[in-house]
Symmetry: C2
Subunit: 372 residues, 2 copies
């Protein structure tokens, strides 16, 4: 992996860069569509070449349970298995394992859990997760971490971040594959002091890139931005920074301003499946009666395959009928929207005009009651 910063904004922390990975170069800030089970829901993987920006996220926990990391290794790795020529980042499964709550038990060694699929028993340790992510074969893999719950008291958050540090060190020792890149994850809940402490500890271990995890789990936007700022303040300027699981366009804009290079989020696909589509003027619910005879595309001027051929009236009809094509078209548009958003953001950074861009976007996007 090579990361090259191309431009640092003069007034804020926004930055533009280039991240070279085995399956192609990424221009940052970049958004990664989520393909949890080696598929971005409803999208042909060929179509992802247009709709993604050269990288998607998949999930080690889900792939380990089904079809199995060993099967993916025998298939020649995840790229070949799913027919995707771009890059893949795998999350370590920390977030998913901890979401199991009643089904898991944490120890210093790792986490024992029961499969939500069949009740079978499994243990994830740093070493095991490194093995699983090696078998899956993503370009970027994440260290095993504990994603602390929200709310979470200061004492537990501290205990948890220190365990995450010890697990990160074990991941770092175990990691050997020089075709993959390992990122560390900063934890510390909503506490700026703990975020700073975690960042310092993770940096001490030393990774090629750094993620900020455990945010956007229920805390307020203010809590999120303060925790993020504390973490980022300690991160080296020359390594890529990835904010996990965030978010909506307004969150992305705010976090780019805070110095983040990489994002992932299920929302464009999930909201699309539910009939919410994005436009630069705000979100709209395409199921609404007002669109019954609206023959404009989902977003006027959008060059995506959904907007080039289909009207709001038709997409609404498909949603009302529960037809698969509804979700396909809305997801297609939302992914194309996110890609365009990131390209606009990057362009604004390169022109050293990101503050103005952000103010304009947020004013137009959030100001209106956009149902027209």
């Amino acid at each position: 992996m090579i990361f090259e910063l191309q431009f640092l904004s003069s007034e804020i922390d926004a930055r533009a860069g280039r991240l070279c990975l085995p399956h192609g170069e990424l221009l940052t800030p970049v958004f990664m569509p989520v393909g949890t089970r080696a598929t971005v829901k409803g999208i042909m993987n060929d179509a992802l070449e247009e709709l993604a920006s050269g990288i998607i996220l998949s999930n080690a926990f889900h792939l380990y349970l089904r079809p199995g990391a060993d099967l993916i290794e025998r298939a020649g790795g995840i790229h070949k298995f799913m027919n995707w020529k771009g890059n893949v980042l795998t999350d370590s499964g920390g977030y998913q394992v901890f979401s199991l709550s009643a089904l898991r038990r944490i120890s210093e060694e790792g986490v024992s859990f029961q499969s939500p699929l069949d009740g079978s028993y499994h243990t994830f340790t740093s070493e095991r997760v490194m093995e699983i992510e090696r078998q899956i074969g993503a370009d970027i893999i994440m260290a095993f971490d504990e994603c602390s719950p929200y709310p979470c008291d200061h004492d537990y958050a501290q205990e948890s971040l220190e365990r995450t540090t010890r697990w990160a060190a074990r991941c770092r020792r175990e990691f050997q594959d020089d075709t993959q890149t390992l990122f560390g994850i900063v934890q510390g809940s909503i506490y700026p002091d703990l975020r700073l402490e975690s960042a310092r500890q993770i940096i001490d271990i030393g990774f090629a890139g750094y993620a900020v995890g455990g945010l956007s789990v229920g805390e307020s936007k203010r809590e999120m931005l303060l925790a993020l700022a504390a973490a980022v303040s300690a991160l080296p300027v020359d390594a890529p920074r990835y904010l996990m699981g965030v978010g909506l366009p307004e969150d992305i804009i705010n976090c780019v301003a805070g110095g983040i290079d990489m994002f992932d989020c299920v929302l464009p696909a999930r909201m699309g499946r539910n009939g919410t589509v994005f436009t630069m003027q705000g979100r709209l619910n395409i199921r609404n009666a007002v669109y019954a005879e609206d023959y404009r595309p989902i977003e006027e001027g959008c060059p995506c395959p959904a907007c080039q051929g289909y009207s709001r009236a038709y997409v609404r009809h498909l949603f009302k009928c529960g037809e698969m094509l509804a979700a396909i078209l809305a997801t297609t548009h939302n992914l194309a929207f996110y890609k365009r958003l990131m390209q606009d953001i990057r362009q604004a950074i390169l022109e050293d005009a990101f503050s103005d861009y952000a103010a304009d976007f947020l004013g137009g996007y959030l100001g209106g009651t956009y149902e027209k």
Copy 2:
């Protein structure tokens, strides 16, 4: 509409032809994928240009209820509404209305029924159905008919076919749009004498094409083929013949041998959604464990987008996870398979070798226990 016969088999009734319609020329025998609600489930309408053979079927009953035939008319017709450049045939709704059983009442005038969507009351008459199909704007529209139930006694089948004849005559009188083509429908249940009688009555009214309806509703294959033969024996040689709702590849081959030019069936899409895929060696259930690490395409040698990029192992994984892409890929392949099957059938007819082709296909297709 212009229909031109290009070749009549020397030993059997199979025929190859050319059907010129407002949205392009069809080469017959032809299969029409079913897009009940103006969408072939799971398929982008752009992709249909490759996967269909220039025509799809949609359904006046479903479109009348949602989004409404008047809305489709204001949208500029079904082609524009759904973004489909090829031809459309609309079924009249007879089959669907009669399937409502408890919710409908038949009189000489027509059928009154309650909407399965909201319980509202509606009446379909010949005149109303002609108006609805005109509003939807398909290239070929079907006369309003009574699809008699199965089993059905001879007396009721006779009464029903005679009512269907009177309704067909009313449709013929009402039909005026010279950009559309109206087909009549032969009924008569499983009784060859009634099928012959119905065919003669419908031909007396005079239509540009003739459909055989009310088959493949539960009767045996033998009953179906005898009823079909009786109907076809009376049909003019120079008009297109359409067997409604049939069928599996083996049925299509048998009915092409019986002189049919046009087919439609929900099975390739529905079976695909359930994990059954077609190959020239037989069907296979892609969910089976035997495909867990089978890295061949669904069908070796198939040029379709699903077989060009994805393995059986991956498609099986998607089905096991309940992912939308599973249904998308299996439907894509099955439609491509049907298109290829019809091209092969046509080629065999043009070479006057259809009997041999049919014997070879049915031997290879049905002989094996194809799960490999």
